[in-house]
């Protein structure tokens, strides 16, 4: 599919049109309470859209796996009925690292058993991704090889200064892009986009990882009993903040809610976190991962080893840096942990 | 055989807090009439000592669940007064708007849930549901609207969280304010429907009067709820900083709450006091409501307090809409809160809680640590007046028999909309034959 160019103005007009014709459009904008931060939220006006944002407080996973969703409706008499979100929607402004996280989730939610709740929403979404224009304070996407993205989106926008290069990757995307006033991207435009990519692949790197992301899994094989887990977890609140803000965390809890008739109700799933006390607790009162340090280690193994083994070796940390900001005692930074292990194991080698 | 009346209502129901009513009479001769407040005392003035100026609002809000917004706002005003913090016009306006929401919420709750059952001759709002479902649903709706309004601005209906010394931690968006305005505009007919329902049973309100000094705030530009000077129907005026010379609090053996008196042996505060002092400033719709019930300035029938509350609901809605318009015209601006203490000293503030004038004073050191405080709650100020009303009304109605006397006394106390957990806590009538 061809590569187009949009002037800044025609981009705005295009978004205007999208907002006026589609029911559900979400886009990156200033956080409603804290105006120095950004969030994905329903986009009412094109003027609110901020494609120059650094990072959003929550990743866009909330549109694919909402914090709370109904899985089935039940009725004491009539049994169970599947509940499904079937509305079509558009998300504007997903950064490459978040896109890659969604690509990973797609694989995980289809693997073993096809999760129709996640996948229905995923299939109903049109994603307009955009390349990073402003580096956030903790981003390390370059280290994780997630600074640019090649698939998953329907349209990718790249700000090249005098306009946007837009490339549709799907038919859905092409149809949508056709509505914009575009011109064919010139060689210079394509080169400018390449330059943005090259720059991002190098410079979105506030916390450089001292090895290839694909090597982390092997690194962890030797680190299971390393003292770093105990040391760091000493100040862990077990608050699950790192889980909640992470674009690649998808563990959930399930609970039933009754209606007032006490005969019908909903079975819901809500975000959960493997760092939380009680995550592995079973009746009567046995907890399998009771130690904070074990839970702390579990998360970093999940990102670096367990999930990668399910998705062809890709590391399940996309370097968005959200957990770094979310963690009060400042222990969540995956790079710091992996680098520390690297140092120690290479020290052992020497 | 002598005819004995012995009323002993322990823990009066449908009031906020615990209060008792005691009447002993033999052959129409009244031997004892007593209004008691046995609520467990809670010692707020003692508990705030040593706390930071930032926490005072959080603590004293817990004096009362029903008027927590008034408590929070007056506490903050007093704190700001003490340590020299200024606030913006926007903050002042949003605080007033928040305060209006509580008036509406509390008045609807009081008239609709607590007083209406008396007028309909039932024991609670529950049987009213079958008798007058539409009326109840309208009351519930008005109550919900008021609560959602409080929540929008205060972050929570009870014990608001957004207000702090210097400003708000969260502001409503212009969109939300527009929606609120629309909701309030649509509420007016519902309010009128409630007025009509109450009007249909208004003949159940006893015709009793007793010359009373009514005390409230008065403010230049508003029918006073949020601010002003202290005034009384006896023509006295006093600055808020001298409130202690108005309230003259004393400890009564009948009560765990303190009582108050000014020029007479007791005075009354509340909606009727505000109405009597500031009638002219009421919005027209409020005056119309009052007219429907024949309520006029200078009324000394305590049972009419509930009607004054209804009238005030009209005023609140109309003036809230005006305030919203002003806020929208100016546009909502994010402000940086400068809430650090500028000086040490004592601060005083008054506000009209739904049930009457409320005073808070605090003293802070230069770090903003509270050295002490004094609070005077509306219901405290009414306790003495309730007792005086009792003393006058019981001989007048003693012939009507125990049940009627009991019923009228309960209604009398309820009409004051007492908040006994505020004053400490509430009510119970006792009778013997």
């Amino acid at each position: 599919m061809s590569v187009k160019k949009l002037s800044k103005e025609s981009l705005l007009n295009w978004v205007d049109e999208i907002i006026s014709t589609k029911k559900k459009v979400y886009g990156v904008q200033k956080h409603k309470d804290k105006t120095d931060r950004f969030e994905f939220a329903p986009l009412d006006s094109t003027a609110d859209l901020r494609l120059d944002y650094d990072v959003t407080v929550l990743p866009p996973k909330k549109y694919f796996q909402p914090p709370t969703e109904t899985l089935v409706a039940f009725d004491l008499k009539g049994g169970y009925k599947a509940a499904c979100d079937t509305e079509k929607f558009i998300v504007i402004g997903i950064h490459p690292y978040d896109m890659i996280a969604i690509n990973q989730m797609d694989e995980l939610f289809q693997k073993d058993n096809y999760d129709s709740h996640y996948m229905t929403r995923r299939n109903n979404a049109t994603i307009i991704a955009c390349d990073v224009a402003t580096a956030s304070k903790d981003i390390f996407a370059s280290s994780m090889k997630t600074a640019t993205v090649k698939k998953g989106y329907d349209i990718l926008l790249t700000d090249i200064g005098n306009g946007y290069v837009a490339e549709a990757a799907t038919k859905k995307g092409q149809l949508l892009l056709d509505k914009a006033k575009t011109e064919k991207a010139s060689d210079a435009d394509i080169k400018a986009r390449q330059a943005v990519w090259e720059n991002n692949e190098k410079n979105l790197n506030k916390h450089p990882l001292n090895c290839q992301p694909s090597e982390v899994s092997e690194l962890l094989e030797k680190a299971y009993n390393h003292p770093v887990w105990e040391e760091k977890a000493k100040t862990c609140f077990s608050c699950g903040s790192c889980n909640q803000v992470c674009p690649t965390c998808y563990c959930f809890n399930v609970h039933d809610d009754m209606n007032w008739d006490l005969k019908s109700g909903d079975r819901k799933r809500t975000w959960d976190g493997c760092l939380l006390d009680g995550f592995t607790k079973v009746a009567p009162d046995h907890e399998f991962r009771a130690k904070k340090s074990d839970r702390f280690r579990h998360r970093l193994y999940r990102k670096g080893k367990y999930v990668p083994s399910k998705i062809g070796g890709q590391i399940a940390c996309v370097g968005c840096g959200r957990c770094i900001g979310a963690c009060l005692p400042d222990i969540a930074n995956p790079v710091k942990v992996y680098n520390r292990l690297l140092e120690d194991t290479s020290a052992v080698k020497k | 055989m002598s005819k004995k009346i012995d009323i002993n209502v322990k823990h009066l129901t449908r009031v906020e807090g615990h209060g008792n009513i005691i009447v002993n009479a033999t052959d129409g001769k009244v031997e004892k009439v007593e209004w008691q407040v046995p609520e467990a005392p809670r010692f707020f003035e003692a508990m705030i000592r040593g706390r930071s100026y930032e926490d005072i609002q959080l603590i004293v809000s817990r004096i009362c669940g029903i008027c927590s917004i008034s408590h929070s706002l007056v506490a903050i005003k007093s704190v700001e007064n003490a340590i020299g913090i200024n606030i913006s016009e926007q903050t002042d306006k949003i605080r007033r708007l928040l305060h209006y929401s509580e008036q509406l919420q509390s008045h609807v709750l009081h008239v609709g849930y607590l007083v209406a059952p008396d007028l309909f001759g039932v024991k609670s709002v529950v049987p009213l549901v079958s008798a007058a479902k539409d009326a109840v649903l309208t009351i519930v709706k008005a109550h919900r609207v008021a609560n959602e309004w409080s929540e929008l601005l205060g972050g929570r209906v009870t014990h608001p969280v957004t207000i702090r010394p210097g400003g708000f931690t969260m502001l409503p968006s212009e969109k939300q304010l527009k929606e609120l305005k629309e909701t309030l505009t649509n509420l007016v007919p519902d309010l009128m429907a409630i007025v009509d329902v109450v009007l249909s049973v208004a003949n159940q309100l006893p015709a009793f009067t007793r010359e009373t000094e009514y005390v409230s705030l008065r403010e230049k530009d508003f029918y006073a709820f949020y601010d002003g000077k202290i005034v009384s129907t006896d023509g006295h005026t006093e600055e808020v900083c001298n409130w202690e010379s108005v309230a003259n609090e004393y400890v009564s053996d009948q009560s765990t709450a303190k009582w108050a008196k000014w020029h007479r042996s007791s005075y009354a505060v509340g909606a009727l006091a505000r109405f009597n002092n500031n009638y002219e400033q009421l919005a027209d719709v409020a005056k119309d409501i009052a007219k429907k019930f024949g309520l006029k300035k200078g009324c000394c029938n305590p049972y009419m307090n509930s009607i004054a509350q209804l009238a005030e609901c009209g005023d609140v809605v109309v003036n809230a809409i005006k305030l919203i318009d002003e806020l929208l015209t100016a546009g909502i601006k994010q402000e940086k809160i400068d809430g650090k203490p500028k000086k040490a000293g004592r601060g005083n503030a008054a506000i009209e809680a739904p049930r009457g004038i409320l005073f808070h004073s605090y003293t802070f050191d230069e770090k903003g640590i509270c050295l002490g405080g004094n609070l005077c709650i509306p219901t405290n100020q009414n306790h003495g007046n309730i007792q005086k009303d009792f003393e006058k009304i019981v001989p007048e109605i003693i012939d009507q028999g125990q049940d009627a006397v009991r019923q009228k006394l309960e209604m009398l106390v309820r009409s004051y909309d007492p908040c006994i957990s505020c004053s400490t806590h509430m009510l119970d009538v006792q009778f013997v034959k």
Binding site: F74, L76, G79, F109, D112 | -
Partner: protein
């Protein structure tokens, strides 16, 4: 097929089953015999189902019957919390929601052919093992000697009495039992289940051993087997973890790299070498 997404199966949607039989087996265990209302349950020994009680939630429960028995399946449920308490209230004819069968790690039906089999069960751990034991009994000629070691806390907590009696009377299966607590009414062995292991020393050499019981049991049994030089790739453990979905998504049952629900619940012990959290 789902109306909204067009998928043929919603993995979270329970299917209705009917209770054919329900009876208490002792103070805490309920026996249930169920049939699916629509498609019969097509399962393998070692798999489990999610039993659903509207308003209460779901509980993963092992299938205790052998797939050789057609037209119904059996569960044994211990009353322990919200869902299991409600399961205990079920009566004959009641409808109940079932998801599953789940679990890819099942008993090694094929590989175990021709081998001697040893089942080591602690208490309710007999329940899932029973599925394979009965499967083997129904395909008796395919397998070698069968030995069942069963430890129960106290003799009043034993269940499947008549079935156990039958086994002990059969010549083609050997049952050894023990109870933890000494009691006048119990004439058999006393002591934890590991005390039975030396008694079957001769069986262990080339046998496939299957362990299922309370979490604390595994470590000690495996240690005891190690003393008898039983190789870890012939030991199978049936593990239990907290579960919320049963289909490899919710993350609660994860043991290092494994999800008990999709990779287990039956694991070969040698494969768990990379999963220190397992035992």
């Amino acid at each position: 097929m789902c109306e909204c997404c067009g998928q043929d199966k919603d993995i979270y949607l329970p299917q209705l089953a009917t209770v054919n039989k329900a009876r208490m087996m002792n103070g805490t265990e309920l026996y249930l015999n169920l049939s699916m209302d629509a498609e019969p349950l097509d399962y393998k020994p070692g798999q489990f189902v999610e039993v659903s009680i509207p308003g209460f939630g779901e509980a993963p429960i092992s299938i205790s019957s052998s797939p050789t028995q057609k037209g119904y399946f059996e569960l044994v449920v211990r009353k322990i919390g919200n869902v299991t308490s409600m399961i205990h209230k079920l009566k004959i004819g009641d409808k109940i929601g079932i998801r599953g069968p789940f679990g890819n790690g099942c008993y090694p039906i094929e590989e175990a052919k021709g081998k001697n089999l040893v089942f080591i069960c602690g208490g309710i751990g007999l329940v899932p093992q029973r599925s394979f034991i009965n499967y083997v009994l129904d395909n008796r000629s395919d397998y070698g000697n069968i030995t069942v070691l069963l430890g129960t806390k106290c003799h009043t907590q034993r269940f499947f009495h008549s079935e156990l009696r039958q086994w002990s009377q059969r010549s083609d299966i050997r049952l050894l039992e023990t109870v933890d607590e000494k009691d006048d009414c119990w004439q058999g062995n006393v002591g934890v289940v590991t005390t039975l292991i030396p008694k079957i020393e001769s069986e262990l050499g080339s046998a496939f051993t299957f362990i299922c019981g309370p979490p604390v049991m595994y470590k000690f049994v495996i240690m005891a087997l190690a003393e008898e030089n039983v190789s870890r790739d012939r030991i199978f453990v049936n593990l239990e973890r907290k579960m919320k979905c049963g289909v490899g998504k919710c993350g609660h049952c994860q043991i290092n790299n494994f999800y008990v629900c999709v990779d287990g619940p039956v694991f070969r012990c040698s494969e768990l070498a990379v999963a220190p959290e397992a035992i």
